[in-house]
Symmetry: C2
Subunit: 352 residues, 2 copies
Amino acid sequence: MAEKEDQEQKRTDVNELGEFGLINHLTSRFSIQKASTVKGIGDDAAVIDHGNNQTVVSTDMLVEGIHFDMMYTPLKHLGYKSIVVNLSDIYAMNAIPEQVTVSIALSNRYSVEALDELYEGIRTACSFYNVDLVGGDTTSSPKGLVISVTAVGSAPKEQIVYRDGAKAGDLICITGNLGAAYLGLQLLEREKQIYLSNPDVKPNLEDQNYLIGRQLKPEARKDMIELFAKNELIPTSMIDVSDGLASEVFHICSQSGVGAYVEESGVPLHPDTEKMAINFNIDPITCALSGGEDYELLFTVSPADLEKVKFMPDIYIAGEIVDKKDGIRLHTKGGNIHPITAQGWNHFNTSE
Amino acid sequence: MAEKEDQEQKRTDVNELGEFGLINHLTSRFSIQKASTVKGIGDDAAVIDHGNNQTVVSTDMLVEGIHFDMMYTPLKHLGYKSIVVNLSDIYAMNAIPEQVTVSIALSNRYSVEALDELYEGIRTACSFYNVDLVGGDTTSSPKGLVISVTAVGSAPKEQIVYRDGAKAGDLICITGNLGAAYLGLQLLEREKQIYLSNPDVKPNLEDQNYLIGRQLKPEARKDMIELFAKNELIPTSMIDVSDGLASEVFHICSQSGVGAYVEESGVPLHPDTEKMAINFNIDPITCALSGGEDYELLFTVSPADLEKVKFMPDIYIAGEIVDKKDGIRLHTKGGNIHPITAQGWNHFNTSE
């Protein structure tokens, strides 16, 4: 109990460091010891060499009240999404996910039937993405639901794509429209507040299936990884868009030691995103840059592969990798140039 | 929001199924799809075939208020233990752990300094056990701290030991004394209650370093796995003792389709365990059978290997595997015979 007092002598709020700062702070003193560790912290997934293929491992934690709100999240969708967000990280390594482990902590507010719903969603995702549930842990929590998923995949060594391979002159590509999942969340939050202040008002979410679907039931781009293999395309770098385009471009640039020039007109936006952003008084490009949870892939390819990506469906060329000294910049439709800065989600603002 | 009401139509409390029942219930509908999945749910770790060696994966979740109490758990020890409990599962497959991922969710009650303490313990464990921290997720929680660790290891295919290989006539072995961690927890809980009712009373934990150490800073039996390799001993089955001897013997028997005859006099107990059990008015053997968190290894060997285990340090022969029809029984020092039944920890009794 003395230990507790010692800890409280100096107190730095985790918000001061931010998400990425905190991760760096906590992990910078760890060193790699095993020959089989090809890649540790700092990419979408770790890479382990166990023989013919390399093993790729990724993990994510979803916390009730932080990542999801039971007021508007069907448990089946939550189970599905908890798998998808992990598989997305494995695909972002250009690898094929094969196994998942799922650990859950839950309060006794959750019944077995509720868990059945959750696992039905997990099962549906495992079946659709062709992965095996191979383990996990099930325990109780004093409050709410926590889901921790680890995904394991594999790929031949020469096929694995990291964040650090982008070179000046490479094309920046995106597999689909961005910002919709963020607006889906804003919509659900707005209707929740209306419902809480007057339970007689029916939620007005008609015609918003697209945006809400992108938030509640995202898909990982398995199809794109398969398309890459079929077309013998290996990106020079890749990351999945979970924290918003700005953050992901920043990660690629910072790890590759390059700059980037992103064309606003090249960033794909769904018509519903454009309409709803205006409705919320937000510039649509801001939703793409700073939203999140789109789970599209952001990747770079050598200019020699331009012909390949030009004829592949669902690939949008959104800019070009440039020298580091030229910075990371957005060229807006209006002809202005803005610097792009990293910003992960800042979850650390809850109080206990 | 309609979904929520539907879920509440039938409500089965998770306590009705118990821990193992719940896991079976939730996972029975999942099927194995990948050729690389050698072993899915149901052992200490999953086994994946990725080439020369097989990959072994295990995961565990530790929840504040369920698995640990910040009143008496130094964060450094908690970080250390969170790694150890996972490595113990990898060793229980006769494999060598090589990588871990660590995900944490924490409320803003935790400062960066507190997290530093936690990660210092994690780093110490990684260093001691020679494993790499290769990933994780760091997020916030509305309340308390949740730690989810996944460990990845490897071993040649022919060396991996499952729970299902025990045969009648095999010897039942244990690597060290049991029940101490459970009594350590009882002691800490007792002193906590005294402290809460009168903060002026100093905790009386002098001379109890052994029991408290077994609870707060357990070690995984890396040394035993190395000793097995050196002596070319491959157990016929193995499990780590995390839920108490009764539960682990039950798992071995049920998965191997055998019975067991456990000699009370063969179950190792530390003198401090014997003394403190009497102090708490519990039969010492009950602490070993139904306690938990000892993280010793329980394994079976062919009678042909008797000479090997007889001369290895820290191996206690505690009984024999028998035919299934003979059941799972404890032969007490007093000459009585009791059936042994499974019992995992029942964590599901918290209310929100």
